[in-house]
């Protein structure tokens, strides 16, 4: 049904597109909002996790006796307390997960696979005793050689990380660290390159980075004697937590209730589970509520991150600027279990361009690092760093402006996708035009060692399942509940859509986030799907209310429902003797006309539409130290329709800021023994407002033709262009092509010095 919806592009809206104050704002700025760690219950215990100090080791034995006998300790659990489960995969909206691996990640069994891998958990009367107890757990390890990078893990004699892992290509007898090889092809590669006048080939490396949400993972588990479990936690998806915890603990889903706390950031890193089953299991063992909250070091060592990667990208273009061929090899670090976003990387890497001939080979490689999690447009930023840099170089060789070069090759409605059916109406061209016409592009950039760069990004966006209920109250106000956790301001969007449909003031709508017992199944807040899918459920639920109200007015006025007109919040009839009624007035008549009115809708949205963004960056490079200052940054992004423009801009700015951090500073640093060295935010470096200029935003609105409100989804694509845009700007500033992330001062200086030496040698050679 959803597919048949037609966006009303001529619609003029009353509330959509305005910027009301967010409904949850006051509680958040006054500290009243409850985040995960704020929950407390009588008799509650505190849980802590013992983590592996080794990158790869066999667990010969675990002795918990001393810890268990420490006064104040109520329970100690290890992997032996978890059921063994078979492989079972599930799509969470930002990639597929396997519950067997989740279980092995929640608590290691016979082997630890990365520094920080959970081994045991303790519940005690306070966290200090729990911490002391961890020190009393004795683990006997046999340390094994580790494979920390895709290069090391793909070597023929590499240490095998998961003995059970096989891939189709290498067959059932071959132990391997390569979980998957994906290949996409089109046309004839050799013929394509033969028609190219210019070919650019470069190898790229990107570092593993963390999502960097400020709120650490947390969970309170309460197991009651009747076999029911309740979990309070901050998560991107309550139903995902319920389903995964059910599988890991083998408790039926119907016996688990998940209550969402406010969430202090997730960016994809809070789609899965870490502490939830441990808190429930510890609660089951002790009969008391158990709260667990990670430290920052635990967050960095054992949750998130997204893949570091190696990408080789070769592309060819004709002299007049037509892309004719691309050959790409890419390998992503999955972490200790399969499931890097390399598939999405492969599907996005050249998705924005019409290229008749290509071969893309993509490898999902396990390494002795934490299992990666989704991170905003997972896999696409790494990929675009490579392809958008090579495209920039080709535009330069063709002597064509990089924006025009992209416009000439851009995909449009009807263009084939690298994988999948042809594009419907998309806004890439409009996004490029918006950057081309921006004040930024029209401004002059002057001064030494300054350069301007652009790059684009593509992301699919997701649809998936959502449920919504709209309750009308006697005073004419409404509440709207969805199952979507509010990360980026979705409460405001749900209220706006409700107010728009019902013709009431947006401040009289109360947006709510339901727990798993209070609302129908709703998939994660991820994949940029919430405003699109939950927004559509809300739209339909509000229309359900409207339909019922028309019936009530008809009953009151003894007319047929289709004789009732509704405009600007007022019901009327062609009959002039009948005076019109506002929604508020009609609400007073509900009891008389049949009782309360509740509207509901559920959908499995299949109308997601791609998002494109183009980002322009000005930088100044200190050629003696490698330090890069971002002077100006503008992003244009196709939102389809901006329901609350401030939160669309917020998403655009947030993703851009993270992309700039990824570009310039962030990286996981492991020592020779595979231990993470930068486990705090003083060493793991995220940008702050002092590092960034105001990020200028241009919202482009090319409505999604398959969505009733034209919505596309805006949460992710903004993170895709910055690494390449910054690299291209650096090139234009000092003539050095960076192919390695992050482009931190030490790395950039190395590249500058390397180039200087090469130039000096050439001059010397010429002089000889």
């Amino acid at each position: 049904m959803a597919e048949d919806n037609q966006a009303d592009s001529s619609a003029s809206f009353r509330v959509i597109g305005t910027r009301p104050i967010r409904h949850d704002g006051i509680d958040k700025v006054t500290g009243r909002a409850k985040y995960g760690a704020d929950y407390s219950f009588p008799g509650m215990l505190h849980g802590k996790v013992l983590r592996s100090p080794h990158a790869h080791a066999r667990i010969k034995s675990i002795n918990t006796a001393k810890a268990a006998s420490l006064p104040g300790v109520a329970a100690v659990i290890t992997g032996a307390d978890l059921p063994t489960i078979a492989s079972r995969t599930e799509n969470l909206g930002e990639g597929v997960v396997n519950s067997r691996y989740i279980s092995l990640n929640v608590l290691a069994r016979d082997k630890v696979l990365y520094d920080g891998h959970a081994i045991a958990a303790v519940a005690a009367s306070n966290i200090h005793i729990a911490d002391e107890a961890l020190k009393l757990i004795e683990v006997d390890y046999e340390v094994l050689p580790s494979a920390m990078t895709v290069d090391a893990a793909m070597k023929p004699a590499a240490p095998i990380i998961l003995e059970e892992l096989r891939n189709k290509e290498e067959g059932p007898d071959k132990e391997t660290n390569v979980a998957n090889h994906i290949r996409f092809t089109r046309g004839e590669l050799a013929e394509g390159f033969a028609t190219a006048d210019f070919v650019v080939e470069q190898a790229f490396t990107t570092a593993m980075v963390h999502q960097g949400y400020i709120e650490p993972h947390n969970a309170v588990g309460i197991y009651s004697n009747n076999g029911f479990a309740t979990i309070y936690c901050s998560t991107q998806g309550t139903f995902a937590v319920r389903s995964l915890t059910s599988q890991v603990l083998q408790i039926p889903e119907g016996q688990i209730k998940v209550v969402p706390a406010e969430i202090g950031g997730g960016f994809g890193g809070k789609l899965g589970i870490y502490l939830e089953p441990l808190a429930v299991l510890l609660s089951k063992k002790t009969g008391r509520p158990v709260k667990m909250v990670m430290t920052r070091a635990e967050v960095l060592r054992a949750t998130g991150p997204t893949s570091g990667s190696k990408i080789r990208c070769k592309m060819g273009a004709t002299r007049d600027g037509k892309l004719v061929a691309a050959e790409i090899w890419m390998a992503y670090e999955a972490g200790a279990f399969p499931g890097s976003p390399v598939g999405a990387g492969a599907m996005t890497i050249i998705a924005s361009y019409q290229i008749p001939n290509f071969v893309i080979d993509a490898y999902d490689v396990i390494v002795n690092r934490p299992k990666t999690a989704a991170y905003r447009a997972p896999g696409a930023s790494n990929a675009a760093f490579a392809s958008e840099t090579v495209i920039d170089a080709l535009a330069g060789l063709c002597r064509i402006d990089p924006i025009d070069f992209r416009i000439m090759n851009a995909v449009r409605e009807g263009s084939a996708q690298s994988a999948g059916p042809p594009f419907k109406r998309i806004g890439y061209f409009e996004t490029l035009e918006a950057i081309k016409n921006s004040a930024h592009n029209k401004s002059k950039l002057e001064g030494l060692f300054r350069g301007r760069g652009v790059a684009s990004g593509f992301w699919f966006n997701a649809g998936l399942q959502s449920s919504a209920v709209v309750n009308l109250h006697v005073d004419g106000t409404a509440s709207v509940m969805t199952g979507s956790v509010d990360i980026g301001g979705s409460r405001a969007s749900m209220a706006i859509i409700t107010a728009e449909v019902l013709g009431i003031d947006v401040t009289t709508v109360r947006p709510l986030v339901g727990d798993t017992d209070s609302i129908g199944h709703t998939d994660v807040t991820g994949g940029s799907r919430t405003t699109l899918a939950s927004g559509q459920a809300v739209y339909e639920a509000a229309h359900d209310v409207l339909r019922q109200l028309k019936e009530r007015a008809a009953r009151l006025w003894e007319k047929k429902p289709d004789e009732i007109k509704f405009a600007d919040g007022v019901f009327s009839s062609a009959d002039e003797k009948i005076s019109p009624l506002s929604v508020k007035q009609l609400c007073r008549q509900l009891a008389k006309t049949g009782g309360p009115v509740t509207g509901k809708a559920t959908i499995n949205a299949r109308n997601a539409a791609p998002a494109f963004a183009c980002t322009m960056v000005d930088v100044e490079v200190d050629p003696d130290t490698g330090k890069v200052r971002v002077l100006r940054c503008t992003i244009a992004q196709d939102a389809g329709r901006a329901i609350h423009p401030s939160y669309v801009e917020g998403q655009m700015q947030g993703g851009t800021a993270q992309g700039i951090g990824w570009a310039l500073n962030e990286e996981y640093v492991y020592d020779r023994d595979g231990r993470l060295r930068n486990t705090g935010l003083l060493d793991y470096r995220m940008p702050t407002c002092l590092d960034l200029p105001l990020i200028e935003t241009v919202i482009v609105e090319v409505p999604n033709p398959a969505h009733p409100l034209g919505i596309r989804g805006v949460g992710e694509v903004s993170i895709v262009p910055p690494p390449a845009a910054v690299a291209n700007a650096i090139y234009n500033a000092i003539g050095v092509r960076m192919t390695e992330l992050p482009m931190s001062p030490p790395r950039l200086l190395k590249a500058i010095l390397k180039r200087r030496h090469a130039e000096a040698e050439m001059t010397n050679a010429a002089a000889d």
Binding site: T625, K627, N665, D683, R685, D691, P746, L749
Partner: protein, 286 residues
């Protein structure tokens, strides 16, 4: 991240502080702004049984000019140094150095005495104190003694301050005519501390160097005077700066961490030394 338990004492005079220090000996520590000490206590790298808070000893927070010298009390905050009209007029380099420390919260609480006594290898003040040839006044129950900056920084987090002593005053000669100074730093991207910081103070006679003093922080375990740079410039004109600055890291065991290798730090030291010297010369000429 909880400190071990301790007893807290708040004093209103140097005398009372000294009395408590001699009563508790090694068990006691001075608390000034707490911006270095409290993190150390939370990490349990320091576990003093007694904290002697000198925050209320107001006379220690004063900044004054006396007989051509600028006297800064040990308790003067980075903010008060940054904004002092005396310091801005007579020692602009020091005001600039203070302005580059941390962020506004840090500058509002952190003190010059705390920074110098703590001697963090990446702290900013030590470089300026060395280049300005500051003199520290240390008070103990037996009286006062003065220590020159060159003799003050002994090793990683180690200074000439003895147990039971308080750094009450830092004294600087005002920059005279023909003298210019500049402090430059490469901020650690997260903490804001100096990955490398260089203070250069030069006096010209005609077009040639009469006196050159270069203090470098962040490069090794302690801040130091780059004497090989200073020597290389003796009597020379400013065209000798580039060659001299290439010696900035000579003989120093440069620190490596997850952000910057020793090699990178050494390069930063050379680059910032050159720039600081060039800018210092430009200031004299201006």
């Amino acid at each position: 991240m909880f400190p071990a338990s301790f007893e807290y004492h708040r004093v209103s005079s140097v005398k009372d502080a000294l009395a408590l220090l001699s009563q508790f000996g090694d068990e006691a520590k001075i608390l000034a702004g707490g911006h270095s000490l409290l993190p150390m206590m939370k990490l349990r790298l320091a576990q003093p049984a007694h904290l002697v808070d000198i925050g209320a000893v107001h006379e220690l927070a004063q900044i004054q000019e006396q007989g051509g010298r600028i006297l800064i009390g040990g308790l003067a905050t980075h903010h008060s140094v940054e904004t002092s009209s005396i310091v801005k007029a007579k020692l602009p380099i020091l005001a600039e150095c203070a302005a580059l420390i941390g962020d506004i919260q840090v500058r509002n609480r952190g003190t010059i005495g705390g920074s110098l006594a703590h001697a963090d290898p990446a702290a900013d003040y030590p470089a300026a104190a060395l280049a300005l040839e500051a003199e520290m006044t240390l008070e103990n129950p037996g009286g006062k003694r003065k220590v020159k900056a060159a003799d003050f920084f002994l090793d990683l987090l180690t200074t000439a301050v003895q147990a039971g002593e308080i750094l009450t005053q830092v004294s600087f000669a005002a920059l005279g005519a023909g003298t210019g100074g500049v402090y430059l730093k490469h901020r650690h991207p997260a903490s804001g501390f100096a990955t490398v910081g260089v203070a250069a103070v030069v006096t010209l006679k005609g077009t040639n160097f009469d006196k050159v003093r270069v203090g470098i922080t962040g490069l090794g375990a302690k801040a130091f005077r780059a004497s090989s740079v200073e020597k290389a410039l003796a009597g020379k004109a400013s065209d000798a700066i580039a060659a001299a600055a290439s010696h900035a890291a000579d003989g120093v065991d440069a620190t490596s961490d997850t952000y910057a290798s020793g090699e990178f730090r050494a390069e930063l030291a050379r680059v910032y030394t050159r720039r600081a010297l060039e800018q210092a010369v430009a200031r004299v000429k201006a």
